[in-house]
């Protein structure tokens, strides 16, 4: 069973529907024991870094996530759900992230006349192989909606980047911890492939 963490983040139904479409057994939940027992965990997220961490703390989910990740449960953070696995964000100064991986979240500067947020399809520059990107080609297009992006401290954790004025780390992987900045549930066949790679782990 895949636990999709329900912490009042927007649009989690789309993630659920994509996983169901792939034939995965999944459940929206904020039940701590269910999350700790889950075979896999997905942390979706739309909204602001500070609000998201506030709710994860409020529902006692930060420790549940750490416990599950420590025992090796595959974990996928999507969009804001990827950002919160790092240490901190310019979006919400002073708020501590989950710190599952080292790094910070910074804002696009909008240079070269680029509009912030980035909304739309952009291509992946794949840095290294990962189970999450099995059969996904370099240059594949995925769908983004974000104003902030991850700057990972340890670039060994970075599987793919995307250029949008700056170079954003958009797919990360470290042992059982995975994150993608884009929305795989909205990225057509490529996105479904990535979600399938995760459900097959």
């Amino acid at each position: 069973m895949i636990a999709i963490i329900d912490y009042d983040a927007g649009n989690i139904r789309s993630v659920e529907k994509a996983l169901i479409h792939l034939g995965a057994e999944c459940r929206l939940t904020r039940d701590i024991s269910e999350i700790e027992r889950a075979d896999k965990i997905v942390l979706p997220g739309v909204g602001a870094f500070g609000d998201a961490m506030g709710r994860l703390n409020q529902y006692g989910l930060t420790d549940a996530i750490r416990t599950a990740v420590d025992k090796g449960t595959p974990f996928l953070g999507i969009c804001l759900g990827m950002q919160v696995i790092f240490d901190e964000s310019e979006e919400s100064p002073g708020v501590k992230g989950l710190s599952l991986l080292p790094g910070k979240v910074v804002r696009f500067t909008g240079k070269d006349g680029l509009k912030v947020p980035q909304i739309g399809w952009n291509s992946l520059d794949i840095m290294k192989g990962s189970r999450l990107l099995n059969s996904v080609d370099d240059g594949a297009f995925v769908y983004f909606v974000h104003s902030y992006y991850v700057d990972a401290t340890d670039k060994d954790d970075v599987v793919a980047t995307t250029g949008y004025g700056e170079t954003a780390d958009v797919v990360v992987a470290h042992n059982n911890i995975f994150g993608c900045q884009f929305h795989p549930e909205k990225s057509s066949s490529i996105g479904l492939k990535i979600l399938k790679n995760f459900t097959d782990m």
Binding site: R13, A18, W121
Partner: protein, 274 residues
Amino acid sequence: MHTIRIIPCLDVNNGRVVKGVNFVDLVDAGDPVEVATAYDSAGADEVVFLDITASSDGRATAVELARAVAEKLFIPYTVGGGIRTVDDFKNILREGADKVAVNSAAIRRPLLISEAAEKFGSQCVVVAIDARRCLEGYKVPDEDITPDNDTVRVGESGGKWTIFLNGGRIDTGIDAVEWAKKAESLGAGEILLTSMDRDGTKSGFDNELTRAVADSVNIPVIASGGAGTMEHFADAVSEGHADAVLAASLFHFKELEISKVKEYMKRRGIEVRL
């Protein structure tokens, strides 16, 4: 690289896709979910659903539509048509839609834009604008039909286009460019800009209108109305500075294939997702 989007638009009446010209002679054209997933396979970057069901209590048909689509369509989609309240936004977004398009209700009560943007984020608030070029000797309507709206009228701004309410039936006299700027300042995440002059004509987008709006705001502008050839799509970007290009009947009637349009745009040096 970031790409220009091609967006097919589906008119949906009582849960069925309908095709027609200028909302008359509507014929049934299938199930919206099936039509939309076919567009996904054909290379569409997003889909817009316009619910034109005449009597819809609390936009129940639009919510139903959003729910059915979410189960099968895995590209972003927008639902619009008759949206009036923040609750309409909530109910549609909750089902899995990415964006909600609002038109007349936002002109009548612009604060709807900021309320929705504060609650759900600007990225999901699309302000649809129906604009028409002013005829020579244009006179601002005497009756102030949008009492809540302090946006500049064309007579004061010297602008060239006014915006219309109720599916293009009522001229507000409001300057289209000024309204787009106001919508952005209130928190709109995107402008869906339809040229009423060009809609259905297949004579090309009103690139002057698109450019006037796109160059005045810092949010994406979707050009709509007038698509007839592949060249028109590329021109909407190169001349109109559009971030996305929308067409309806052209794709429905298979006069153009999305992939062919994109290949042509690529040859013109425009970045697209292929």
